[in-house]
Symmetry: C3
Subunit: 206 residues, 3 copies
């Protein structure tokens, strides 16, 4: 098992934890917990592969990509009393997972021949699509669209891969730089409690 | 028209009834009723075909798959006063439809070369995807993720098809066994009011 | 840049305005505004291309289709104080965009070999899919399913394209007629405040 696969599965694992935690908080049953952990973990990658026409999606061709979310879901279900203690480490892994997902998604989009803007869009979808689907399923306006500062690290990281590709830089260091950048900026945002601006609204209703 | 097609259209019809009923209860207009009956009826199959890359989806290649939900939607719209009397028979057909959808979805996934875990996942998506989409569209956390015991019959049934395939059993009896098992376990769950467990949550908010 | 592309980008622009406006009203941050303007603008076309298997989708192969929603989102974000004054012109362009999207979607479906019912369904999905996704993301039951009279112009317009195709009429005048019809009927509905009927519900709960 290569180091890249290890990191990939680790990213899937922590994204799955976030999905299972959301499910437990919303009092879904065990099945709902497993569905939400899977959706959060592999939803972004599924969406990427569907949009690229790379079907069946990678997650369906390797049993581990489906089993890891199930294991994560069962752990959260059984250990739901202890979930709050895991908040800090999960956030760390979540930032790492985001970096890996954005790097992988942007790279795959470039390899499929997409242009720079589309590649950044697809890398972002890979990184945040699972979290959006998770929130929609529990009836919540996706947190990434409201206040969590996911966008800046995501777009910065995807841009690094696109620029590196445009300059003809070798793929591996670019991908590593992207993942590290996403991770650092995301953790910095969490640590300093950075938020994206919201617009002033002058009217009470439409 | 073969018996399989008859059962398939019957499954689509009862799933469409569930979508149209949800639409009427949420005071959607006639168009919303038709959209929800279609989404509930063919949404799971569309998702399956998209993920398999079998495009355009089967439901778009046979006009009947689109016309049956429209007929069901119109019936519910016109007869909304009588919908409650139909609850018991609809539940029966719904369980039958679930069996047929799971059997068909798992089989199609195996024939596309997917492994056992992915085939079970795709069979389940075929069976419950339409109901999830229906609930998301009316702003409700999907009932199948919360309390209805759809998961056990769905996964059991899909596993029967996968195991039968692994043992080299002929397809037809396996599919029939799957559909019967899903139907029986689902009806048993409805009759005995079985629910899936939910996790204890010790903290009021995140 | 041909006239058709100009109209297409104009349709995307006004649909993006509707998405960005919904985002600002729901107090999403800047990133959420950009995501919602993109989803509303190109979501229907993405869904159409996914269902047709025309992947990667057209919107990912032409950078302008991704940049126009970003510009529209930034304009709404910066000028959110003035959004209400734009309601009337936006509704006009929205009706025009609907006409162009339905015409383009139905035509693409016919060219992919789909039958009349499926082509009408896919043309409708192209026209209203983005608005539905926009509403789901902000946790609202899609307005097009509840009261806005989008369905009649949409289905009428798509039917014109299908009937014209069946009669062997040349494509261009049929498409123009479809777009004009959708636009006129939609504006007439806005002007006369037409709504689709909803069903009477006699029972308080299921």
């Amino acid at each position: 098992m290569s180091l890249l696969v290890v990191f990939d599965l680790l990213g899937i694992f922590v994204f799955a934890l976030s999905g299972a935690t959301a499910a437990v908080e919303n009092e879904l049953d065990l099945f709902g917990v497993l569905v939400l952990s899977s959706v959060a973990a592999i939803g972004g990658g599924l969406l990427r592969d569907v949009l690229l026409g790379a079907l069946p999606p990678a997650a369906f061709l390797d049993g581990r990509y489906l089993l890891v979310p199930i294991v994560a879901g069962l752990l959260v279900f059984v250990g739901s009393h202890y979930v709050e203690r895991l908040a800090a480490p999960v956030r760390l892994f979540d930032a790492a997972g985001l970096g890996l997902f954005v790097a992988a998604g942007t790279t795959k989009a470039l390899e499929a021949g997409l242009g720079p803007v589309a590649a950044i869009a697809l890398g972002s979808i890979t990184g945040i699509g699972g979290g959006i689907a998770r929130d929609v399923l529990v009836g919540v306006v996706p947190v990434v669209l409201r206040r969590e500062l996911y966008a800046i690290p995501t777009i910065l990281g995807a841009s690094v891969v696109v620029i590196g590709d445009g300059l003809g830089a070798p793929r591996t260091p670019t991908v590593v730089l992207c993942a590290l950048l996403v991770f650092s900026v995301r953790m910095l945002g969490v640590w300093r409690d950075w938020h994206f601006p919201t617009a002033r609204v002058s009217r009470p209703e439409l």
